[in-house]
């Protein structure tokens, strides 16, 4: 029973990280109908920037918000410089560009910061809170940060006119342009927000998995699984999917399959969801007419 609770709480903690990355993926998918393969590497690169700032002496939360701002600008730049120009192209061209971005960010991080594993500090205290031993302070803090982030994004999209404009562009870009919304700017904003969300996920994950250029590839796979499971066009579904995948991964890893097949588990979720119910649990079913 205690082991079960341990695994569930640990799963919820990592699930929060998967939920953040899945949320970034869903945001980009909703706006552009594209799956961003480079999301993990962008998050990892931002985390390295944060590490460099902290090494230079900037206090943690200062570095945190500076990095979020930097990632926002990075996302906007990628949308304006690259993706705007290849918007109408066939799928293969887009996949090539995303894989190119993935590879460039990975190698840039390795080149500038070397491949040695680094320790990333956590802003939360080391001893577990409230005297219990199921969750560490960092796991609890990371989950709290994820939930705050999701709440802020939800409020932004629901209550501000800018959020409304972005939702309009995601749903119907042609009509939005006719109404007077600058579609390119909204897409750039969407990319910037997604990159910022990804960087937060990276900074919350780094104290757990340690900072190295390949730290996000496994997490990215779980985030894909989470986004597909929850519904690739439903942000709430992505968050739910993230927590569910985190808990399932830990439970199956501890009691059923063993820790060595966790990635294969993510693969089977992805293939299973795509075959059985491609729209996920909360996503909308796409109907195309011939």
């Amino acid at each position: 029973m205690e082991e079960l609770l341990n695994q569930v709480f640990a799963g919820l903690a990592t699930g929060g990280i998967y939920a953040s990355v899945a949320l970034a993926l869903v945001m980009i998918y909703q706006a552009t109908q594209l799956v961003n393969f480079a999301q993990g590497e962008m998050a990892m690169f931002s985390t390295y920037i944060a590490w460099a700032l902290i090494q230079a002496g900037v206090p943690y939360w200062g570095a945190f918000f500076l990095t979020v701002g930097f990632s926002f600008l990075l996302g906007v730049a990628i949308q304006f410089l690259l993706l705007q120009r290849i918007r109408g192209q066939p799928v293969l061209a887009l996949v090539v560009v995303f894989i190119g971005l993935l590879v460039i960010f990975n190698s840039l991080a390795g080149w500038i910061f070397t491949y040695t594993i680094k320790v990333f500090p956590s802003p939360f205290p080391a001893e577990p809170p409230f005297g219990q031993h199921y969750v560490s302070a960092h796991e609890l803090g990371a989950t709290a940060v994820t939930l705050v982030l999701i709440a802020v994004l939800w409020a932004f999209f629901r209550f501000t006119s800018l959020g409304l404009a972005m939702r309009a562009v995601a749903q119907n870009p042609v009509s939005s342009r006719l109404v007077g919304i600058r579609v390119g700017q909204m897409l750039a904003l969407g990319w910037g927000l997604a990159a910022a969300v990804g960087s937060v996920a990276g900074m919350m994950a780094a104290p757990i998995v340690f900072l190295d250029p390949n730290m996000m590839s496994g997490i990215l796979l779980y985030a894909f699984a989470a986004a597909l499971l929850g519904g690739i066009d439903s942000p709430g579904g992505a968050v739910f999917g993230g927590f569910l995948v985190g808990v399932l991964e830990n439970l199956l890893g501890a009691f059923v399959v063993g820790n060595e097949l966790k990635l294969v588990f993510a693969l089977s979720i992805i293939v299973g969801v795509l075959l059985v119910r491609p729209s996920g649990i909360f996503g909308s079913v796409q109907v195309t007419r011939v």
Binding site: I104, W111, A225, L274
Partner: protein
């Protein structure tokens, strides 16, 4: 597919002659590198059949390469099967596995198939390290293979023998692909890529051909994996990460999608660029891959093969225009028209 032009046969003969004579003039290490170029060329040909000709994007072909390599290694090491038999067996195993993977892949389109194959590529090393499989796969340490000796007491060293062995397989696989793709099956594959609904309205059995393409493509990559394992003499799970799948993808994009000759350019690229760029920095090869990928999409979407063909076409049309000028002044006005058709890239939208 273009018909064979008059300059094709002599240039092919020259190429084969160079390929046969080269190993006697260069060091053993370079012979080994050229063997790997042949191996990658076979793998890239397989991936090109699937992605370039049939339009199914696979980011996980490293998994089939790994399966081929491990089948060869296990047969040689655990069962004492002679090395030349393991390669066709690896191909047969991968044909079946690829076909079986292609069946559920029928339901996945474009980006989702890329996602599913990406997941396959990322999770393959973990599957290979799985403890219950260890008596077969050797776990994390992998399997070491003994280098085969040249048969019939030929006066060449083992590296050169492996090169000719791979060259023979490469020639056979290229011939097979050329024959497959220029006939009915090739046209069906391209039709499915360009407009699947129209193709199936015309009576093409889309499901069969798509799964078949997956199977054949996996067979090619499995044969390449087996040859690669014999050349490198070692298989281990961490040699077959997602980076291998991405390398193969880079290879076909750089070499030229929808072309057979492009496989060789792509193979040369992915074999020699890491060797040269490694001297700058460990990260440099991947940075170069990334820059090439993005640059190619904007500048040269159909790869090196198309660019070379374009140059040839331009040269040929200038030659035709100048010889037409010599023959009669009347045809000078026809020259600009011919020049413009010479400029058009040969197979349109190889990337659509």
């Amino acid at each position: 597919m273009r018909a064979i032009g008059s300059w094709h046969v002599p240039s092919l003969v020259a190429l084969v002659a160079i390929a046969c004579l080269l190993p006697f003039f260069i060091s053993n290490y370079h012979v080994f590198q050229l063997t790997l170029v042949l191996v990658y060329a076979i793998a890239l040909l397989g991936l090109n059949i699937l992605t370039g000709y049939n339009g199914q994007i696979s980011l996980g072909h490293g998994a089939f390469y790994a399966i081929g390599a491990y089948v060869a290694a296990i047969l040689m090491d655990r069962f004492g099967v002679p090395y030349w038999l393991t390669v066709p067996v690896a191909g047969a195993v991968c044909l079946v596995v690829g076909f079986l993977f292609g069946l559920p892949a029928l339901r996945l389109e474009g980006l989702y198939l890329a996602l599913a194959t990406f997941a396959l590529g990322v999770s393959m090393p973990q599957l290979l390290k799985y403890k219950p499989f260890e008596p077969w796969t050797g776990g994390v340490q992998g399997i070491v293979i003994v280098k085969p000796d040249p048969p019939w007491h030929l006066p060449i060293n083992p590296d050169q023998w492996l090169y000719f062995f791979s060259l023979g397989f490469a020639a056979a696989m290229f011939l097979l692909a050329w024959n497959l793709l220029r006939g009915r099956i090739g046209r069906a594959l391209v039709a499915i890529r360009d407009h699947p609904i129209a193709a199936s309205a015309m009576g093409v059995n889309t499901a069969l051909y798509k799964s078949l393409a997956f199977g054949v493509s996996a067979m090619y990559t499995g044969i390449a994996g087996a040859l690669g394992a014999i050349a490198v003499q070692f298989v281990a799970p961490d040699s077959f990460t997602i980076l291998l799948s991405i390398s193969l993808f880079v290879g076909i994009v750089v070499g030229g999608l929808g072309s057979i000759g492009g496989a060789i350019f792509g193979a040369l690229f992915i074999e020699f660029v890491p060797n040269l760029a490694d001297q700058i920095s460990k990260a440099a090869p991947w940075a170069i891959y990334g820059v090439f990928l993005i640059g190619l999409v904007f500048l040269m979407p159909m790869g090196i093969n198309w660019a070379i063909r374009l140059c040839w076409a331009r040269i040929a049309s200038y030659r035709r225009a100048s010889s037409a000028q010599l023959r009669s002044p009347i045809t000078v006005s026809a020259a600009p028209h011919r020049r413009s058709t010479g400029d058009a890239p040969c197979p349109p939208e190889a990337m659509s």
